[in-house]
């Protein structure tokens, strides 16, 4: 269970980005979570709510986009999306592949921020 430690770093990174943009509050955090990230979604959501309290992210919604594992298959010369993470074989030709093209992501891709003047550059609701 290292999701608490992940959540602390998540809040830290998001709070700093929000502050740099002049925000007072963050209402939404958008996260991409790969199947091979080693992070359990439920545990992260639970930890996030606790860690976010008393920060600019208090009460923020954590929107998680889960990304399946994608490998590149050399014989088929194309990428293939896999179900689960226990087999790394191409679903078409059954050849194993170690060329992982997606699935390790653990990254913040966007925030919805609130504050006086934050909407000047890029209005969310024009």
């Amino acid at each position: 269970m290292h999701e608490l430690s992940i959540a602390m770093q998540l809040v830290d990174v998001a709070a700093r980005a929000a502050e740099d943009a002049g925000a007072e509050r963050v209402s939404v955090v958008r996260l991409r979570l790969g199947a091979l990230s080693g992070v359990v979604r439920d545990a992260l959501e639970f930890s996030f709510a606790i860690v976010a309290a008393d920060t600019a992210l208090a009460g923020a919604q954590l929107q998680i986009e889960e990304l399946p594992l994608v490998i590149y298959c050399v014989p088929c010369a194309r990428k293939a999306t896999l179900v689960g993470i226990s087999s790394f074989r191409c679903p078409s030709c059954n050849t194993p592949s170690g060329d992982i093209r997606q699935g390790r992501e653990l990254e913040i891709v966007g925030l919805e921020i609130m504050g006086a003047g934050v909407a000047q550059q890029q209005p969310l609701h024009p």
Partner: protein
């Protein structure tokens, strides 16, 4: 109060990853081989390292090792018998090591990376959480004892997939 969408692209573990990259550059620049040993508790990380450190020290190699555990310095005392420089990291409940602790303990121990040939990290015995944390190693080594269940790589794919080397430390011979 106004609202807007702020597009960013930031790794959640970017701070750890940056520290790890800095450590790896220092190891590379000084020709030090840095290895991060990961396994479940009881697979034999300490036994493997004790023998490896002793063999390296006997050949005149300059070796240092950090060892992570929740409690006790038993493992550091075992590894120190090899004659290598060893320091225990007590995590007090944390299930993994992070790059910052590795950096801080290297500096607290007073080790000069430029004066080492090998640097070993014995991670906390755990096949789950250490997978997420780059410690600046050049190679991640995962140990597997088939006596604990030969299907560990299937049950813990993240750590086995992220490892550069896998070592089988114990196995049961098939009945003759």
């Amino acid at each position: 109060m106004e609202t807007r969408l702020l597009a960013i692209r930031a790794g959640v573990l970017s701070k750890n990853d940056e520290l790890a990259a800095t450590l790896r550059e220092r190891f590379d620049a000084n020709g030090v081989l840095a290895l991060n040993f990961v396994s479940s508790p009881g697979t034999g990380k300490t036994a493997w390292l004790e023998a490896t450190l002793r063999a390296l020290v006997q050949r005149g190699q300059r070796v240092a090792a950090l060892v992570g555990d929740l409690e006790t310095d038993n493992d550091a005392r075992r590894l120190a018998r090899s004659g290598a420089a060893v320091r225990q990291i007590l995590t007090h409940g944390n299930c993994h090591l992070e790059a910052e602790w590795v950096r801080n303990h290297i500096s607290a121990a007073g080790w000069n990376i430029a004066e080492l040939d090998y640097f070993f990290i014995e991670n906390v015995g755990n096949l789950v959480c250490p997978a997420s944390y780059d410690l600046g190693e050049q190679l991640r080594v995962v140990l597997l004892a088939s006596t604990e269940g030969e299907d560990k790589p299937l049950k813990y794919p993240v750590i086995f997939n992220s490892a550069d080397v896998a070592i089988i430390t114990k196995w049961i011979s098939p009945p003759l």
